[in-house]
């Protein structure tokens, strides 16, 4: 009885705290400007099915792609067992779903196999990160916290899965010995290999192991759930939503700036611009997170720091400072700080800092807008779009474009080409042009 109450209270606490954190993240994302996301729902659900649920883009790198699918699918399937854990925890029963008879040990054995796949996947991931030191996990933006974060997630998953094996193994021994409460439900496939390790232990110790593992697993899940909002692991929730809101237009199309359209129209026609009183857009481009749109901000919370973008970025590959992953991580870190400031102060609090305290002009100007990053991102983050918003601010608000770029701007204004050639010479290429004809 007391156990049931503790169990229920723990869950209420865990879910409440999680909800509180998710609401904060949601509020932070909504600090972004509104955007009109076009395109039909059917296409978006198709993308969710293919890219998010189907993990299609993960297979761009097949080794980590396959391992990730094992961990992802395994973790979800193993947690079906949570259903029984919930029933047992609330009702104070033991293995409540064993009334399924012969199906029960088959199901549990299957979960054990999935758990093993998760363990194997996580161990290989740990080796790749820490021993093989795959390059993309050791770039400069992967400082102590991003590296520790990734390792904590992997280790936690291994511990959670191992607790299942030890719980099931001690349970099986207790069943065979006919211990009280441990009714016979059949033997489980993988955990039976752990029996020899535990077989010499007395019943009391085994019961302690079983209960400890049960609580470790359940409390572990609660702790893990509440760790996720502080971690890059938040992608397990946001990736589905982020993929749903993928830009459906051609990759090469940049977002329009309606405020500029109004201004340019008035310049060309000589009429006064129609000023929309309700327009939120106050600056050209983005200086801080609030001037990005909510999709940019959601991108930043969805990023799982895999670094596939940085690994294919031509600028980064040739030793430049730009790393698309760092840009996205910087936006998230800045947004987190802005969010904390709001918690402490009030909504309009300003710390006199901006994204430019995180991201340098040197990084931004190195982008070729080639879209290699957006093409490989497994969760459809649009790195180029954020980079362009920051460039727009540098050029149009700070008037601080590079000298060479200012030169092409004035050439385009004066003679309609980035080069300094007279517009009247635009047909010189056609002079003395002959074609061979066969009669």
């Amino acid at each position: 009885m007391i156990n049931s109450i503790i169990f229920i209270l723990l869950w209420i606490g865990a879910i409440a705290f999680f909800t509180w954190n998710v609401k904060k993240i949601s509020r932070n994302i909504k600090l972004g400007k509104s955007i009109d996301i076009k395109g039909n729902k059917k296409e978006r659900w198709g993308l969710v099915l293919k890219v998010a649920i189907g993990q299609s883009k993960m297979m761009g790198l097949p080794i980590s792609g396959i391992l990730h699918i094992l961990v992802y699918a395994g973790f979800i399937l193993v947690n079906i067992e949570m259903l029984e854990v919930m029933v047992d925890g609330i009702a104070g029963t033991h293995r409540a779903l064993s009334f399924f008879g012969f199906l029960y040990p088959i199901a549990i054995s299957a979960f054990e196999i999935f758990a093993l796949l998760v363990v194997v996947g996580c161990l290989v991931f740990l080796v790749r990160r820490n021993i093989l030191r795959v390059d993309r996990f050791w770039k400069p933006e992967m400082k102590w916290w991003p590296r520790l974060d990734a390792n904590l997630i992997l280790i936690t998953e291994v511990v959670l899965m191992m607790s299942i094996f030890f719980m099931n193994a001690s349970d099986t021994i207790l069943q065979l010995r006919g211990a009280e409460h441990y009714k016979e439900v059949g033997s489980f496939f993988l955990s039976s290999f752990f029996i020899p390790i535990l077989n010499d232990l007395p019943n009391e110790t085994l019961i302690l192991i079983d209960r400890t593992c049960w609580w470790l697993h359940i409390v572990g899940i609660m702790v893990f759930l509440n760790y996720i909002p502080y971690s890059k692991h938040f992608h397990v929730f946001l990736s589905f939503i982020n993929v749903f809101y993928t830009k459906l237009e051609p990759v090469g199309k940049l977002a329009n700036m309606p405020s500029i359209t109004a201004e340019v129209k008035s310049m060309l026609t000589g009429e006064e611009p129609l000023i929309d009183e309700n327009a939120e857009e106050v600056s050209f481009g983005a200086k801080d997170v609030k001037e990005l749109n909510w999709k940019h901000l959601m991108d930043s919370y969805t990023c799982t720091e895999c670094g596939r973008c940085t690994a294919v970025c031509p600028a980064n590959l040739t030793g430049k400072l730009l790393s698309p992953r760092k840009v996205i991580m910087d936006i998230r870190d800045r947004l987190e700080l802005v969010g904390k400031n709001i918690d402490k102060n009030e909504i309009d609090f300003s710390d006199e800092k901006s994204l430019f305290d995180y991201i340098s002009a040197e990084e931004l100007w190195a982008c070729t807008t080639c879209n290699a990053c957006t093409n490989v991102c497994p969760v459809n983050i649009d790195q180029v779009s954020s980079i362009i918003e920051l460039r727009r601010y540098i050029v149009m608000e700070q008037a601080a474009a590079l000298g060479e770029l200012n030169a092409i701007f004035s050439n385009i204004e004066n003679n309609g080409a980035p080069w300094q050639f007279a517009q009247d010479d635009r047909m010189l290429w056609a002079d003395e042009l002959y074609v061979n004809t066969k009669v």
Partner: protein, 266 residues
């Protein structure tokens, strides 16, 4: 068979319009196509092809102006929209419906971005147009000028990733009797030449290598005799890369239109 040289008078939109004629296609030459010495040759090659197939086309001539692609990607949205809106005004005044261009950047901007400002056109990249000619059975290549040559194709970012067009240029190359080889990074994984997004006009940021050299190394790895591109920026970058590697004698750098020009002996 008698061969003769015919002088091409490139039709200009304003002249045709004055005569009440409406060509089927507008050829958007682009600033590089009009001013860059190397890419002028590509424009000339493509115009020869259009003439050879009696395609009804015209150019804007001295009325053409920068599409604004580079201004937009360099962050100058104001300048981009001014270019876009004045170009659209001109294009719409000529009632233009179909556009062909040899520049993937102009292709992307005209096709995807002008529609925001009431510029709605069916835009073809010249590789798509050439592929159509092949599909229609009009363009057939029997010439074996490149039969013993190995060709590799570099995907321009704004044709490939930006617009998903990987097949048309490859189909055109397949129509040319020759050997083809893919680089280790190709199609959606192709490495950028390094010139997009304004890089063409500025020094690269500090690093340990130029992007075009990294890409040229991909080319050299294939042992191809010819590197084919379909973009003015890629052309400049690949030319520079081959020079840097002292390979400009061994490896030729052509636009797809130039290969067609040569095989048709235009």
């Amino acid at each position: 068979m008698i061969e003769s040289k015919k002088k091409i008078e490139v039709p200009v939109m304003a002249d045709l319009f004055a005569k009440g004629e409406k060509p089927e296609y507008l050829l958007w030459v682009g600033s590089a196509g009009a001013f860059d010495d190397r890419y002028k040759k590509v424009t000339r090659a493509f115009v020869k092809i259009l003439t050879h197939f009696n395609i009804s086309y015209a150019v804007l001539g001295i009325e053409e102006s920068s599409s604004g692609d580079v201004a937009r990607r360099a962050g100058n949205e104001m300048l981009f929209q001014m270019q876009a809106m004045s170009n659209i005004e001109l294009l719409n005044s000529y009632e233009i419906k179909n556009i062909i261009t040899c520049d993937p950047h102009a292709f992307n901007t005209l096709k995807n971005e002008y529609s925001e400002y009431d510029g709605h056109y069916k835009v073809l990249h010249h590789t798509q147009f050439l592929q159509q000619l092949i599909a229609e059975g009009k363009l057939k290549i029997e010439n074996d000028l490149f039969k013993d040559k190995t060709i590799t194709y570099h995907d321009p970012c704004y044709l490939g990733r930006a617009n998903g067009e990987y097949n048309a240029p490859r189909k055109v190359l397949d129509a040319i009797p020759s050997k083809k080889v893919e680089m280790k990074r190709s199609k959606s994984k192709a490495l950028c030449c390094g010139a997009g997004g304004g890089q063409m006009f500025k020094e690269a940021e500090k690093g340990d290598k130029e992007v075009f050299i990294e890409r040229t190394e991909d080319v050299l790895e294939t042992n191809a005799d010819i590197i084919v591109t379909a973009c003015p920026y890629c052309m400049v970058m690949m030319t520079d890369g081959l020079k840097y590697k002292n390979k400009e004698e061994e490896i030729k750098n052509y636009d797809i239109a130039e290969l067609i020009e040569q095989t048709l002996e235009l």
